[in-house]
């Protein structure tokens, strides 16, 4: 593809595959799982036709796929993998390992309800329940954003030496088609410098990673991770801005949509952002002062920026497409924690709106805003029909 960019009709998953084709990672250990499988199928198609030089590894489980990702990454290879739900949960042990090893793996996750009961519905619990594993987490609302985010994620991950996971919702994004602007290879090459890690497994250096260490060193490893996490938001914003200069599509840790002067701000992640945008426009047309705060970067949680973005609002309606049993909506909890202690914080309503892949159309969001904008908030997240 020699053109600067090319318009293609792509599903969210195939948009991810195209991003991988453009990045051409050195190694991609992959294991199939619905609804992620089209991502790896397309990649294997590219590989089969000789269009990418990526070495595909096909292990016997996601656990082994992640083990292969870590090993490859520690040799200095650029690595990609994709998974979903049960597959991501099976990787859990190694997600900790990857971040502790500071392996800048880029992984795509398709958000799907974890079993049981068995289902294939869009729900973000799978990736949100990995929030303490030390991975940078980005959430995408569209095929275009998924493609753009994968490319940016390599720059972010490799700059801060942290593994990065991007998620989009099952079917709403993974299998929905839209016209996607696929950038040219040269543009991606210019955007993404070669990966040159400070440390890697190399017989020439003789250095190795993974030896047991003492308490002090383990403690220090977390302090170092904390220092790196502190840099992430700036890197996400810088990568998003640079990408915008090349493509006209800018991204950041947060996106404020008609929210800077709004009394009521809807806060959500993933595909529901697109729906909320339609609801915001309709409510504005009715004369209501409503906006949207899209949380694209969930980990590290952009606490200061969120406080700043919501400081002026009277009330906040959080729409969670997940449920943490015994606690409520995870975004709701994170947001409350972020706002705690703010001088004049908004009232925060946590609504369990899309759990289990329930459809949340614009009209529903509009009615929820009407119902909660002037209400007294409850500490607990609320189940809404």
């Amino acid at each position: 593809m020699n053109a600067i960019s090319n318009k293609m009709l792509l599903s969210g998953n195939h948009a991810v595959s195209w991003a991988v084709k453009l990045v051409q990672p050195d190694v991609a250990p992959v294991y199939p799982i619905t609804p992620q499988t089209p991502i790896l199928e397309k990649i294997t198609e590219f590989e089969g036709r000789g269009e990418i030089s990526t070495e595909l590894v096909t292990p016997e489980s996601e656990h082994s796929a992640m083990a292969a990702c870590i090993s490859a990454s520690l040799t200095g290879a650029r690595v990609f993998t994709a998974t979903s739900s049960q597959g991501l949960l099976l990787m859990h042990e190694l997600l900790h390992y990857a971040s502790g090893a500071r392996a800048p793996i880029v992984m795509f996750n398709v958000n799907r309800t974890p079993a049981s009961p068995w289902g294939f519905w869009p729900d973000q619990l799978d990736s949100l329940s990995q929030r303490d594993t030390g991975w940078v987490q980005l959430y995408s609302e569209s095929p275009q954003e998924s493609l753009d985010s994968v490319i940016q994620a390599y720059r972010i991950a490799e700059t801060v030496s942290l593994p990065t996971m991007i998620s989009h919702d099952a079917f709403y994004v993974s299998h929905s088609l839209e016209v996607v602007d696929v950038p040219g290879e040269k543009m991606v090459r210019d955007f993404l410098p070669d990966y040159e890690p400070e440390n890697m497994l190399d017989v020439a250096s003789g250095k190795s990673f993974g030896a047991p260490i003492d308490q002090k060193t383990w403690n220090r490893s977390r302090r170092e991770m904390a220092a790196s996490f502190a840099e992430v938001e700036a890197q996400v914003n810088a990568a998003g801005a640079d990408w915008g200069k090349l493509t006209g599509r800018s991204y950041g840790a947060l996106e404020e949509y008609r929210s800077q002067d709004a009394d009521v701000v809807i806060v959500t992640m993933g595909s529901m952002c697109g729906t909320a945008r339609v609801a915001v426009d309709a409510l504005r047309d009715q004369g209501l002062s409503v906006g949207l705060l899209k949380v694209r970067q969930f980990r590290p949680f952009p606490t200061e920026s969120v406080c700043k973005a919501l400081g002026h609002a009277k009330s906040v309606v959080v729409l969670d497409r997940n449920y943490s049993p015994g606690m409520g909506g995870i975004l709701h909890q994170e947001l409350k924690a972020a706002l705690y202690g703010a001088a004049q914080g908004p009232k925060v309503h946590g609504l369990l709106a899309g759990v289990g892949g329930m459809n949340v159309p614009p009209e529903k969001i509009m009615s929820l805003v009407g119902q909660y904008k002037d209400a007294e908030p409850s500490v607990e997240s609320q189940w809404v029909e």
Partner: protein, 552 residues
């Protein structure tokens, strides 16, 4: 909390974990042990088959030959006519098909003759002399092993040429004479004091010979044909099988008529029948045993049938008489019951099952006995053979015996093995300090310890046979050799049971890097091996095994 001074990560290190002695966690330890393969356990000469087959696989044919001839100076011969119990025992049988060891042995043997590879002179010549009586497979094998040890050998052969049964019994279509000559000459080239047409025919002569030498090895074979009751051997239409084969092998014409009955179901009977077919005769084999219990090797029976030899089995001849220009054999079906040992059986004629066979001649071939009478003043007998001990020493110290005169295991390679064992027994008696030790029995490698993930299924490459029509025109060899590529491909099928092939699997798979590579082989680091057994599981040849450790 988010600030920390920049310095190199302490997580990446050149330090090693050698300070952690993980060996203390262990309850079992892997040991390298090259145990015998099942083929070796079954081999009549105790050949190190897995080793020489591996040499073929690696293309080092000279090394294959050198290893092979440690135990058998006749690879080209054995590769043609051995009854190959090695193949029956082969572990590969459990995966697909047994390895074609015999055809590989022939490949190496033929190549050695073609290349003119010679045996080295002994490292040190000794002054002791040993007399070997009988130049058949047992005697020649003993000569060879004694010469390797440096002993002076005088060989006495009653016939005008060496070879015994190999020359006078085995037909040329199974063993070409020039092969026989080549492998015998190679032994003579080591330096043997040879006496042809020199019969040692009595106890007295044997005693005199013993007096002149430090030891004697008696390998005079079993040359007296057993007589079939009810058959008049004086008739012109009866010819003894040994005489028939000797005459034919010497190129003499056969006087018997067109239709012949060969009586017997053993290997020699097959040789007789198939030889007679090549002389243009119609042949019927009459055997006591039913088809599935014929003592001849299955392949020989199949090839005989291919050559249009008729088999009448589970039956015996009761009498034979002339009838015009031919003879009539009066026969009866029998109920044959095999005994405990090979060669033992009982038969019951089945009343009312009488039948007749017509023929022009009869060649009885029901086995041969050793002539023990001539030694009876000197050597004790054990049934039909000379009595011997574990080293093949007879009742007269210093006189050893082997081959058909001392054993009922009447296979050529068995005789070769006996010759080797007796030579070592003689050496132990003459000078125990320098003699090879008596081999100890070791457990054989079972199929279960072979990691077959490393051995893809592959059909056996069988040496082809000459077309049946072409076979019957001449005495040319029936079995054709394997081509070099075929031999190498067949050698690759070998599991190398119990024989390290230096594949580095143990070294590479060890999660604790507790294996050290030596110049040849490996060593387990006592301090670090956790006893996980991964090396054992990943060994493709079963050459490592775990041993439980008792901790105080």
């Amino acid at each position: 909390m988010n600030s920390i001074e920049k310095q190199p990560s302490p997580l990446w290190t050149n330090a090693t974990s050698e300070a952690r002695l993980t060996g203390t966690w262990r309850s079992a330890m892997p040991h390298y042990q090259n145990l015998p393969s099942p083929c070796r356990g079954a081999c009549p000469v105790g050949g190190r088959i897995a080793e020489w087959v591996r040499h073929i696989e690696l293309g080092d044919y000279k090394a294959a030959w050198t290893t092979l001839v440690d135990n058998n100076p006749f690879p080209a011969i054995a590769g043609r006519i051995c009854h190959h119990p090695c193949e029956t025992a082969c572990n590969r049988n459990a995966l697909d098909e047994t390895v074609g060891i015999c055809s590989l042995e022939r490949f190496v043997g033929d190549l050695a003759l073609k290349e003119g590879w010679a045996y080295p002179k002994p490292k040190q010549e000794r002054k002791e002399t040993i007399a070997v009586v009988g130049g058949g497979p047992a005697g020649l094998s003993a000569c060879y092993q004694l010469r390797r040890l440096g002993y002076q050998v005088s060989l006495y052969e009653s016939q005008e040429q060496l070879g015994g049964l190999l020359r006078y019994g085995i037909p040329a279509y199974r063993l070409e004479k020039k092969i026989l000559d080549g492998e015998i000459q190679r032994i003579l080239d080591m330096g043997v004091d040879l006496h042809l047409n020199a019969e040692v025919g009595s106890a007295q002569a044997l005693k005199e010979l013993h007096a002149k030498h430090d030891a004697v090895y008696l390998a005079t074979g079993a040359s007296r044909s057993k007589n079939l009751p009810g058959l008049d051997y004086a008739q012109s239409w009866v010819m003894d099988s040994a005489e028939f084969l000797a005459d034919t092998n010497a190129g003499k014409a056969c006087d018997l008529g067109r239709d012949l009955v060969v009586i017997g179901g053993g290997s020699a009977a097959m040789d007789v029948a198939r030889t007679a077919r090549r002389l243009g005769r119609n042949v019927t084999v009459l055997a006591l045993e039913p088809d599935d219990l014929l003592p001849a090797h299955e392949v020989e029976v199949i090839e005989a049938k291919e050559e249009a030899i008729t088999f009448v089995t589970g039956a015996m001849m009761q009498s034979a008489e002339t009838n015009g220009d031919g003879i009539v054999l009066k026969c009866i079906k029998v109920d044959f019951k095999p005994g405990e040992k090979r060669g033992q059986f009982t038969i019951d004629p089945i009343a009312g099952s009488e039948f007749e066979l017509s023929a022009h001649g009869i060649i009885p071939s029901i086995g041969q006995d050793a002539d023990l009478k001539r030694w009876q003043d000197l050597l004790d007998a054990a049934g039909p053979v000379v009595s011997t001990d574990g080293d093949w020493q007879t009742s007269t110290p210093g006189i050893f015996a082997g081959g058909d005169v001392a054993s009922m295991d009447r296979f050529v390679t068995q005789a070769i093995g006996m010759g080797k064992e007796a030579a070592w027994g003689i050496a132990r008696q003459v000078d125990a300090a320098t003699a090879p030790a008596r081999p100890e029995a070791e457990p054989l490698i079972p199929y279960e310890v072979i990691n077959t993930s490393y051995h893809a299924k592959h059909r056996r490459l069988q040496a082809a046979n000459r077309d049946v029509e072409a076979r019957l025109q001449t005495f040319d060899e029936v079995q054709l050799p394997l081509a070099l590529e075929e031999a190498v491909a067949e050698a690759k099928r070998c599991f190398s049971c119990g024989t390290c092939i230096y594949c580095d699997n143990c070294y590479l798979y060890c999660p604790d890097m507790a294996i050290t590579k030596l110049e040849r082989g490996y060593e387990v680091k006592n301090d670090y091996c956790k006893g996980c057994g991964l090396c054992v599981a990943e060994c493709p040849t079963g050459s490592i095994h775990m041993e439980k450790e008792q901790k105080a």
